[in-house]
């Protein structure tokens, strides 16, 4: 007994490790410089910019129609809202309004894309915390959504489907049948996910009470999307500042309670059910008519002015600030990228956590590095 007390105390040093940029759990090229003391994180420094392509600058030397192609490359797992937000901003500048059929198609594709994006999150988040099976289930369904998109516009990830003044292609009767079939197939799957992962005791133990973000903190950090709603703050652009006719759809905004990783996860899973409701309503009401508004020039030259448009993207409040000087390209385009703003809280949140929780917290923020870096 007394011998142990006489031993010299163990020497402990701080250890610096790099997580990423090429690490599967960082969901892209995010580098985290972690300073550890044993298993505790003393300091975490996120390093971004590996995927910076300067799309804001590129937009200044391209025509408005070309810019839609650039937008696909931000959040490449949910590109429809990106297309939409740029088109909404440019349409505001030009004073054009999309026809009713185009609006319904926009809503439908954006909500399908939200499901695809949340499915990817559901699958990869399971892997992040050690459950491999949900990934295979999620990708089975996601594949069907991507097939639908491929049938619609020929692309699986970068769609360029939503165009200035409407949408690029009309849907066929065959597509509508397949979309309805998919929804019928998808609805019972959501209950499966709950039994598979949501209420799995191991998963809950791993994510509940981890990475807590209070409502006041979430607002102060400027979080948006499921990250903000996971903390119980009811802010959804579709309800607060409706666009494309969202005010006429009947849906709810799922909210979390304590702002833990599990709450953010649950918000996303519940959102898929609301997305299905919206798609069903859009399918039921899909009006006949043109899909493109008349009066959008091949080389648009909107009058000088400034606009801001924002949509509820899959990751949060996605906004575009557009300045026109009357020329053929946007004079200035700024993207309010939800992933970028959401990620900023990581530095403060990670300090004081255990290493094992890093991936659980990072995964629950659900970032796409293409959008963080732009």
């Amino acid at each position: 007994m007394s011998d142990a007390a006489a031993l010299p105390s163990l020497k402990s040093d701080q250890l610096f490790i790099n997580l990423g940029p090429q690490h599967p759990s960082t969901h892209g090229v995010l580098r985290l410089g972690l300073t550890l003391e044993g298993e505790l994180i003393v300091k975490a420094v996120p390093d971004i910019g590996y995927l910076h392509r300067g799309t804001e600058k590129l937009a200044e030397v391209r025509g408005y129609h070309h810019c839609v192609v650039l937008t696909d490359r931000w959040d490449y797992v949910s590109a429809m809202p990106n297309n939409l937000v740029f088109c909404l901003a440019a349409e505001k500048l030009m004073g054009v309004k999309a026809p009713a059929r185009a609006d319904a198609l926009r809503v439908m594709t954006c909500e399908l894309n939200r499901c695809a994006s949340h499915l990817l999150f559901f699958g990869t988040y399971g892997i992040d915390v050690g459950a491999f099976t949900p990934f295979l289930y999620a990708f089975r369904e996601r594949e069907m959504i991507l097939d639908l998109f491929e049938m619609l516009c020929g692309a699986r990830l970068t769609y360029n489907y939503i165009r200035l003044g409407g949408v690029g292609m009309d849907v066929s009767a065959d597509w509508l049948t397949r979309a309805k079939e998919f929804l019928e197939y998808f609805k019972p799957r959501l209950d499966e996910y709950d039994t598979l992962l949501t209420y799995n005791p191991i998963f809950m133990a791993r994510t509940r009470g981890v990475g807590l973000v209070s409502a006041a903190e979430a607002v102060n950090w400027g979080l948006s999307g499921p990250n903000l709603r996971g903390s119980g703050v009811n802010y959804d652009v579709r309800k607060h500042d409706p666009y494309s006719g969202y005010e006429s759809y009947d849906f709810e905004v799922p909210l979390g309670q304590e702002g833990s990783c599990w709450d953010r996860y649950v918000c996303r899973v519940r959102e898929m059910r609301q997305s299905i409701r919206i798609i069903e309503q859009a399918l039921a009401r899909l009006p006949e008519g043109p899909i493109l508004a008349p009066g959008v020039a091949k080389v648009p030259k909107p009058a000088a002015g400034e606009v801001y448009a924002h949509v509820e993207g899959s990751r949060g409040d996605l906004g575009i600030y557009l300045v026109s000087d009357g020329g053929i390209s946007p004079y200035r385009m700024h993207v309010r990228a939800p992933s970028f703003v959401n990620l900023a809280m990581l530095e403060e949140k990670l300090a004081g956590m255990k290493v094992a929780d890093v991936i659980a917290v990072l995964g629950s923020i659900d970032i796409v590095l293409g959008e963080v870096d732009r």
Binding site: V61, D241, Y308, D325, L343
Partner: protein, 188 residues
């Protein structure tokens, strides 16, 4: 609360704050006369339910970007023979007030009132500096670093004003209109 009521409320507190000449469509846009008003106005907005700093950015109004260096083939028509005079070249739009200023923008949102107010401030292009909002809104942290990196605005009082998006070895601020790329080891 309508835009006019909101503006009247702001002007009741800060009579020097004016409505911007060019409004951001659909949202109330106000212009500050000096950067000393920024911090009092933001903290007043924060106390009056505008506690969500949505976005901050800026615009360089020097003149349109020179296409050279960004587009290898400036002809928008791919069927034109090589060397033909470009059909369309963006040039300075007639009548647009280009001037050597940086126009900064902050966008505050009230989640309760479903309102947005956009605050603008013009600064001279050479060595622009403005107080940082990081003390009030943590959301300002990375977005100010981004604006510093891409536009070269110094935010006084920011705890860690360093580059965030562009690599360490590059110089200059890419979103400035006179930015020229300096060849580095990654160019061929």
């Amino acid at each position: 609360m309508t835009q006019d009521e909101l503006f009247a409320k702001i002007q009741g507190q800060f009579p020097q704050v004016q409505k911007a000449q060019i409004q951001v469509k659909d949202y109330l846009t106000v212009r500050l006369s000096s950067k000393d008003d920024l911090l009092p106005l933001s903290s007043w907005l924060k106390e009056n339910s505008f506690d969500y700093l949505d976005m901050l950015t800026g615009t360089d109004y020097l003149g349109p970007t020179d296409m050279k260096g960004y587009i290898s083939q400036p002809n928008f028509n791919p069927f034109l023979p090589e060397g033909a005079t470009p059909q369309i070249e963006p040039s300075a739009a007639a009548g647009f007030p280009y001037r050597p200023v940086l126009d900064l923008l902050w966008s505050f949102v009230s989640l309760k009132e479903k309102q947005r107010v956009i605050v603008k401030l013009e600064l001279q292009r050479d060595s622009p500096s403005v107080p940082s909002l990081t003390g009030l809104f943590k959301a300002a942290d990375w977005q100010e670093r981004e604006t510093y990196d891409l536009l070269g605005v110094r935010y006084e009082g920011h705890p860690n004003l360093t580059k965030i998006l562009t690599p360490e070895f590059t110089s200059g601020h890419p979103l400035r209109k006179d930015y020229a790329h300096v060849k580095d080891r990654f160019d061929e």
